[in-house]
Structure formats: structure tokens, C-alpha cells
């Protein structure tokens, strides 16, 4: 009789354990940002998709970078990774594990907003990924562009902004996807400021072909 009671106790404990593990996994993936979102982010086509993985996945590799690279290679065909896109990794470590984010680059020029991210736990098992990649066509880098000074002139006239001090020396060339366009557009990223305002800076992205504003970001200030 006592043996049966003990058997029952063990069975209950095992069931409870399985239940607790399930709940942990649910909460972990629910807050792991791996959900499909709508097209809230401008110019990035159809938005992001990501996925949790039902069970931690062993992928070969001795470091998080190796594991992430191998994981991406496993999905190369499925994700339609293009041969003209290079994947440049950045590793982010935390006590929960590591994430490797791959920026997408064409001919040395970064393409904004197309990153791939692989998440690993402390045991280097893959537990999730984020896929912002789109199989965009190769951007034509030989088409005519405005000079940086022409872009600045246009911006000054229309937006009442002027180049931030030293910004002419730090003009970034980037490729910027635009919703509906098959290839990203060559753009300049430059720092500008309000000539009559305070020290807040604006990072402006201008289409290189004609100076059209494609995006804007501003400084994070402690006081207005």
C-alpha cells in the first residue's frame, strides 16, 4: 500500500514538473519578441517575421558565431538569401545566452532594416530567430547621384536644416529599402541641425539620386 502511495506521489511530482517546464517555455517565448508584426516600420516592405523554436535546437559550432552561421546556412534556401548579399555578424551576450545579428551588406554598403538574428541559450542551443530579410534585387550603384553638397543645399532650402559641424567628413553611404521597390535605394546618411535651435541633431537619410528624405532620426536629450 505504501509503495503505491509513493508511486502516486512520484507520478504527481513528474506531472507537475512537466507542467512547470511548459509554462516556463510559454512565457519565455511570449516575451521573446518572436511574433509576426504588421508593417509598422516604414520602408521595410512587409514587416518582420520571427519564430520561436519548440525545443532548443542543437546546431554544430563551438562558438555562438559558428552556431549562428551554421543555423543561417541551414535556412539559406528557405529564406532565399541572395548571393549579392553579404552577412556581417555582431554578437550580443547576456546572462541569458547570446544573440548573433547579421547585418546585410551589398558591395560593402549596409542595407538598413534587413537583419537576421539568431538567439541561443547558455548551452549554445538555438532557441529562436528573427528574420527581417527580404530577397531584394541588387541595387544599381552606378546610376547618377547628387553630390553631398547638392543634397545639403536642397535640405537647407526645404527643411531649414544645415549640416552639423564636421558632418561633411562623416557622410555615410547606405542602401535603404523602400516599400514596393524591388531593390534598395542608394542613400546618404548625414547629421544635420536646426540653425536656430539647440544642440539636438538629426540624422537624415537622403536618396542619393535626388535628395528625397527617406528617414530621419533625432538625438536623445535629457532636457527639452
Amino acid at each position: 500500500m505504501k509503495k503505491w502511495i509513493l508511486f502516486l506521489a512520484i507520478a504527481i511530482a513528474a506531472s507537475l514538473w512537466i507542467f512547470v517546464i511548459q509554462k516556463k517555455t510559454e512565457r519565455h517565448f511570449n516575451s521573446s519578441s518572436l511574433t509576426i508584426q504588421g508593417n509598422l516600420v516604414p520602408s521595410f516592405g512587409q514587416g518582420r517575421s520571427g519564430r520561436g523554436i519548440a525545443a532548443a535546437m542543437k546546431v554544430s559550432g563551438r562558438t555562438s558565431l559558428e552556431v549562428a552561421r551554421n543555423f543561417v546556412e541551414l535556412h539559406r534556401a528557405e529564406w532565399k538569401l541572395q548571393s549579392h548579399h553579404e552577412l556581417v555578424p555582431e554578437v550580443y551576450r547576456s546572462p541569458l545566452g547570446s544573440r548573433v545579428k547579421f547585418a546585410i551588406v551589398q558591395d560593402g554598403i549596409p542595407i538598413i532594416g534587413l537583419a537576421l538574428e539568431v538567439r541561443m541559450n547558455r548551452n549554445l542551443e538555438v532557441v529562436g530567430f528573427e528574420n527581417e530579410y527580404k530577397p531584394l534585387e541588387k541595387a544599381d550603384l552606378s546610376s547618377p547621384t547628387l553630390s553631398v553638397s547638392e543634397v545639403f543645399q536642397g535640405a537647407s532650402a526645404r527643411l531649414h536644416l544645415e549640416p552639423a559641424p564636421g558632418s561633411e567628413d562623416h557622410v555615410g553611404k547606405i542602401l535603404f529599402p523602400v516599400a514596393g521597390a524591388p531593390a534598395p535605394q542608394l542613400a546618404y546618411a548625414v547629421s544635420m541641425k536646426d540653425p536656430e535651435g539647440k544642440a539636438r541633431l538629426y540624422q537624415m537619410v537622403f536618396r542619393a539620386a535626388d535628395g528625397q528624405v527617406l528617414a530621419k532620426q533625432q538625438s536623445r536629450t535629457e532636457l527639452r
Partner: protein, 503 residues
């Protein structure tokens, strides 16, 4: 006897099986913390490196006098010696990642601080003092968070300008630029004002912004705020988390006493933000998140102060239970949660991430403390669903003027006919037409109580609270271009309004 022995074997086997089963669930063991090392770093007790003499954290707190200033003669007795680690050149402030400047990126190196007599020792009114404080603060923070188990993104250098150039010579401010889009630009911190850089709070807090971006994998936890939104919950989180790190490392539950004195308008000794509950309305989420519909939009710094009180109360609870390593446990927990955040994060996202991180690191040991910290301060992670859908109407309006006018904003009306409060209301502009380019793609309006109407761009909030888009210069004149406005709330379904604008 044999029967008894068999019985004992069975009991031990069953007990062992039970232990194994329950033990198998314990993959939630965080790596051990080296408390002594963390404490040495936190107190900057490095044993080698060029010496610097600093008043930590600032004259007010060092002297315990709300009226203290940089010319105070008593300061000579509160300079403390520290060793600066990580210097590439022992006579110069900087290393491969961290560069200290005075006015801007292109400062002449010969104008920058140089060690003399084996150390960096300057009076507080000398810009070289602020340079020294900046290097000390940021380098210490980097070492601390790395010792906690986090990496700091160093794909580009960080430049700190301690008396940054400004059009307004009287401007007082501290500014962080992550420079997402431009790979040619470093990350920058700029302190405006001759006395701003004297305070250790400044580099500590501003480093927090870089660290937030780093830990959250540069996913854009406040992407909309970066793009120009006046209010988002992500922006409040960004400020709160930068405060949290600075306050935790300092062991203080307030921030910005020195800066508040420089700005003026504060009581003597009053800080910019308190991380203890006070009877000022900022300990109740319902008060800091509400939009009153009459021009009173929630404010990022006010919500940040609420969040400071939540996070520091969790910190205090953990320290009660673990007096020696509680601060480090809390820091690791909070920023492990940040590592789970996504683009345009909300307070609810952060709350859920805290619980998840706690589950993974501590098997949920602090879950009740986390829930209590949020809920006792008015936050409900699961508010009642709206009984009626929000109503949205909008008309496009030109934001700029003239023949080349191409920026479009919207006059928007949002009506909440439910009896419930609509949580975290946001409006985003979208388009499937490549001739319309969202720029300030989303704006946040906080919580709209039941029965209330919010107007933007007309009466109520100004047009600068509207999302905006650019009509592409390639659009032919007269071409009708489609737009879509999406109205979002956490406890209701999305509402859409579509229309066309014409160049």
C-alpha cells in the same frame, strides 16, 4: 530482513528518482556572480593605471550641501584618488573604444587633458576635469556591465564631448546619439554647459543609453522616438533604464541633483528624479500614463520617474534578501529583461520581460516582488478589453508650406466610447504606395479614459503630435497617393483609416 532491505532500496530509488525529476527542471540557474570583483569595479578600486583625483559624484553629494558649487573651498578635502584602467596611453584619456573630447569630434588632441606628475588632477572649473570624470565614469560602467555578463557593442567608437558646442552658449543638456543609420559616425555623448560634465551622474546615465541599445541588440526599443515621436513608452523606458543603472551603481535612489541646480527652478537639493515613492502623483501609473484630451499628453520623463520607482523598489527588495550581492543580482535581472525587448517596446513588454528573465535566471524567485512593484504602483498588465472599438477619423494636412510642400501630417480625432480606458494608444502612418514615405511613422498618446475624445492637429494637441510622411519628389503632380493610419491600443483591436493625398 530481506524484505525490509528491499523496501529501503525501493524508497531510496524512488526518492532519487524524485530528486532527479525535480532537479531536471532547474536549468534556471544563473551563472555565479563574482561579488567581490563587481564591488571593486563599482567602487573603482583598480590597483593600477594612472591616478585621477575626483570629487565623487559631484560637489552637492560629496559635501552633503545642496548649495555647494565648483568654487567651494571645502572641495579640496573631498577629492578622492582613483586609478584609471584601460588607458592606451597612460598620459591620455582614451582607448580604442572610448574617446574623450571637449567640444566636438575634431578637437585638436593637443588641447585635450594630459596627465602631469603621474596623474590627472584639475580644478572643477577646468574642462580637463570633466574629461577625466567622463573617462572614469564610462570606463567603470563598461567594466561593470561586462563583469555582470553583458557585452557592450563596440562596432563603432564612443566619443564623449564634455563641453559640447551649441548654438546657444547658455544651453544645459546632455545628448546621446546612437547614429543607427550612418556607419561612418561614431556613437556620441555631448554635455552642454560648463558645469554639466562635473557630475558623475552624467556619464553614468548617458552610458545607460548606449547600454540599452547594446543589450537590446540595437533593435530599436524606442525606434519611433528616435524617428521623432514626442512620446512613446519606449522613450520612458530608455530614460528609466539609464537612470536605474546609474542609481544602482551609485547606491542612491535619486538622480540629477547637480543638473537640477544648474537648470534652475528646483528646490535646493532636489534631484531631477526620485526613485522613492512620494506624494507627487508619479508613483501611480494611471496618473503618468493618462492623456487628459485637453492638450496634456503623457511625458516621457514623468513616466520614467514612475519606472525608476518600480525598478529601484525591486532592487531594494532583492538587496533585502541578498545583502551582499543583491544589487548585482538586480542589475543582471533588469538588463537581462532588456535583452528580451523588441522594437518600440512598451511598459507591458518590459514587465513581461522582467518575469521571463527572472524565470530563466532565478526560477521565478523574485516574481512576486516584480508583480508587486508594478501593480502596487497602478500598473495593470491585463486591463479589461474595450467594450467598443475606438473610433478614428483623420484628414491629411500639409506640414510644410510653399510650392515644394511635400510633408504630410494629419488632423486626427480619436474617440473612446467605451467605459474602459484604452491603454497605450498609438497612431502609425503606413503606405503600400512607394511614393509615400513615413518619417515620424508613429506617435504615442498614452491612455485615453472611457468617454474621452482626443484631437490632434486642431484643438487639443498640436500638429507636431501627428505622425508624418513625405510625398516622394518623384510623384507626378496631381497623382493621388494612398495612405493608411493605424490606431493601436493594448486592450482593443486596431482601427484603420485610409485615404489619399495629392501632391
Amino acid at each position: 530482513m530481506r524484505r525490509q532491505r528491499g523496501h529501503h532500496i525501493f524508497v531510496f530509488f524512488a526518492a532519487g528518482l524524485l530528486l532527479v525529476l525535480t532537479g531536471c527542471g532547474s536549468d534556471c540557474k544563473a551563472p555565479a556572480l563574482n561579488t567581490q570583483k563587481l564591488e571593486r569595479i563599482r567602487r573603482s578600486l583598480f590597483s593600477s593605471g594612472t591616478e585621477a583625483r575626483l570629487v565623487i559624484p559631484n560637489p552637492i553629494d560629496a559635501l552633503g550641501d545642496a548649495n555647494a558649487d565648483i568654487a567651494d573651498s571645502r572641495l579640496s578635502s573631498v577629492f578622492d584618488p582613483f586609478h584609471l584602467d584601460g588607458l592606451v596611453d597612460p598620459s591620455r584619456l582614451g582607448n580604442e573604444f572610448l574617446k574623450i573630447r571637449i567640444r566636438d569630434l575634431n578637437d585638436n588632441v593637443s588641447d585635450l587633458a594630459r596627465a602631469s606628475n603621474g596623474g590627472f588632477e584639475f580644478s572643477l572649473d577646468d574642462p580637463h576635469y570633466a574629461e577625466t570624470m567622463a573617462y572614469f565614469g564610462v570606463q567603470r560602467m563598461i567594466r561593470y556591465v561586462e563583469a555582470l555578463g553583458f557585452s557592450v557593442v563596440k562596432s563603432r567608437p564612443l566619443y564623449v564631448m564634455v563641453r559640447a558646442a551649441s548654438e546657444d552658449p547658455k544651453e544645459i543638456n546632455a545628448i546621446y546619439d546612437h547614429n543607427y543609420f550612418n556607419p561612418q559616425m561614431p556613437r556620441t555623448m555631448r554635455f552642454m554647459g560648463d558645469k554639466t560634465g562635473v557630475d558623475l551622474n552624467m556619464p553614468d546615465h548617458e552610458f545607460g543609453h548606449l547600454f540599452n541599445e547594446s543589450v537590446s541588440r540595437e533593435v530599436g526599443m524606442d525606434y519611433a522616438g528616435d524617428a521623432g515621436a514626442i512620446f512613446t513608452e519606449g522613450s520612458a523606458l530608455h530614460e528609466c533604464l539609464a537612470d536605474y543603472l546609474a542609481m544602482s551603481v551609485a547606491g542612491k535612489r535619486y538622480i540629477g541633483r547637480w543638473l537640477a541646480k544648474q537648470i534652475g527652478g528646483y528646490q535646493p537639493g532636489e534631484p531631477l528624479r526620485y526613485a522613492v515613492d512620494r506624494d507627487d502623483g508619479k508613483s501611480d501609473f494611471r496618473k503618468v500614463s493618462v492623456n487628459d484630451g485637453r492638450g496634456g499628453n503623457p511625458e516621457r520623463y514623468t513616466m520614467a520617474e514612475w519606472c525608476d520607482r518600480v525598478t529601484l523598489s525591486i532592487w531594494a527588495k532583492i538587496r533585502e534578501r541578498h545583502p551582499e550581492e543583491g544589487a548585482a543580482i538586480s542589475d543582471r535581472l533588469v538588463f537581462s529583461a532588456v535583452s528580451l525587448l523588441k522594437r518600440d517596446s512598451s511598459v507591458r513588454d518590459f514587465y513581461e520581460a522582467m518575469l521571463s528573465a527572472d524565470e530563466e535566471l532565478h526560477c521565478g524567485e523574485f516574481s512576486e516582488d516584480i508583480e508587486h512593484a508594478f501593480q502596487s504602483r497602478g500598473f495593470n498588465a491585463d486591463p479589461e478589453s474595450l467594450s467598443r472599438q475606438l473610433q478614428l477619423s483623420a484628414e491629411p494636412v500639409a506640414v510644410d508650406s510653399g510650392a515644394n510642400s511635400r510633408s504630410v501630417g494629419f488632423q486626427i480625432t480619436i474617440k473612446n466610447s467605451s467605459s474602459q480606458t484604452a491603454r497605450n494608444v498609438r497612431v502609425a502612418v503606413e503606405s503600400d504606395d512607394l511614393l509615400l514615405i513615413p518619417v515620424v511613422y508613429m506617435q504615442g498618446y498614452g491612455d485615453i479614459p472611457g468617454g474621452r475624445t482626443l484631437n490632434i492637429g486642431g484643438q487639443g494637441l498640436g500638429l507636431d503630435f501627428s505622425p508624418t510622411a513625405e510625398i516622394d519628389s518623384r510623384a507626378p503632380a496631381g497623382r493621388a497617393i494612398s495612405y493608411r493610419l493605424r490606431l493601436m491600443t493594448e486592450n482593443g483591436s486596431d482601427v484603420f483609416v485610409e485615404g489619399k493625398v495629392t501632391r
